[in-house]
């Protein structure tokens, strides 16, 4: 199997795989309750973020789950 990309400079494997983007996870179990934060996960890729959220936060039969990148959250009033 051939690669089409150029070989970049050697990178330590762990450093190359470290993920840094934090996603806040929101979910709810019933339609009459609001979405609320249940935790967070770290993933640089949105598809992996979905996999991780579903795998880690599987303790309840959620009817809705949403991911929000922490770096997109805008603070209006800082605590």
């Amino acid at each position: 199997m051939k690669t089409a990309a150029k070989q970049s400079a050697a990178t330590p494997r762990r450093a190359a795989l470290n993920e840094t983007r934090v996603w806040q996870v929101y979910a709810r179990q019933k339609y009459d309750e609001p979405l609320h934060e249940i935790g967070n996960i770290v993933a640089d890729d949105v598809e992996l973020a979905k996999v991780y959220a579903r795998s880690i936060y599987d303790e309840f039969p959620w009817i809705e789950m949403t991911l929000i990148p922490r770096d997109s959250i805008v603070t209006v009033i800082a605590s």
């Binding site: 199997m1 051939k2 690669t3 089409a4 990309a5 070989q7 970049s8 400079a9 050697a10 990178t11 494997r13 762990r14 190359a16 795989l17 470290n18 993920e19 996960i41 770290v42 993933a43 640089d44 890729d45 598809e47 992996l48 979905k50 996999v51 991780y52 579903r54 795998s55 880690i56 599987d58």
Partner: protein
């Protein structure tokens, strides 16, 4: 009243292969659940372990219904089986995380392609199990897709390791469907157990994996015809492939 045993070697062999491959996939995933690159990846791997072992647990009992299975009851329990209907690449532990991802991306997707073709199966146990398997495999494919992209885009030694890891699973996964005149798969097709022939199964498999590989610049010896169907441009090593155990070597 004792139910009459099913005498269908083709279906028995394919079910055995599905069960063995899923059982071993689960065990191989489990080993790396503790060595994943991140906590999140470890939890996702552990979830896949539970799914694969669960799929195998629902398949092994079906073998008892077959005359071929009743002839040797020791082979019906995964803990006492010594026949190996799994692909050869599963004979050993994964050497690293990229090997887990390669198996997840290629072999797991190949088996899922089969279950998708069995959604309207004339064999009721497969028809009943296919929806749950396909639902759980959606997350498996998302995991594989995400990690193939991460490893490929990391470049350098990480990308090279992924390329090396994909090679053996590529051949095994493509061969698993059998040649287009494979007697077992042809019988399943003619009996309505699956809805397409081996070549079409292979084309569906390529339709799932090729867009992912193309996005990260990994070239494969395949092409799309005028109808958009994916076809191999190289021959598979059928001389080394065992049609009963569905494995190379």
């Amino acid at each position: 009243m004792v139910a009459t045993a099913i005498d269908n070697a083709a279906l028995f062999d394919v079910l055995s292969s599905l069960a063995d491959n899923k059982h071993l996939l689960g065990r191989r995933y489990a080993y790396w659940s503790n060595g994943a690159p991140s906590l999140e990846a470890a939890v996702a791997a552990a979830a896949m372990v539970q799914d694969e072992l669960g799929h195998a647990r629902t398949l092994y009992p079906l073998l008892e219904q077959f005359a071929q299975g009743q002839a040797d009851p020791q082979q019906l329990d995964p803990m006492t089986r010594d026949t190996r209907y799994r692909v050869a690449a599963l004979d050993h532990e994964f050497a690293g995380w990229p090997d887990l991802i390669a198996a997840n991306f290629l072999l797991d997707t190949a088996l899922t392609t089969f279950f998708a073709a069995a959604q309207n199966s004339s064999y009721e146990p497969l028809h009943a199990r296919a929806p749950k398997v396909l639902q759980e495999e959606r997350l498996h494919f998302m995991n594989a897709e995400g990690w193939v992209a991460r490893l490929a885009n990391a470049g350098g030694a990480v990308r090279a390791h992924l390329v090396a890891a994909l090679a053996p699973w590529w051949k095994e996964s493509l061969c698993w469907f059998g040649p287009d005149d494979d007697p077992a798969m042809r019988r399943l097709y003619n009996d309505g157990v699956i809805d397409v022939t081996p070549d079409t199964l292979r084309s569906r498999f390529l339709a799932a994996v090729m867009p992912v590989l193309n996005r990260v610049g990994l070239e494969e010896p395949v092409e799309q015809d005028a109808q958009g169907e994916w076809r191999l441009t190289h021959a598979l090593p059928w001389a080394q492939w065992d049609a009963t155990t569905r494995r190379l070597g």
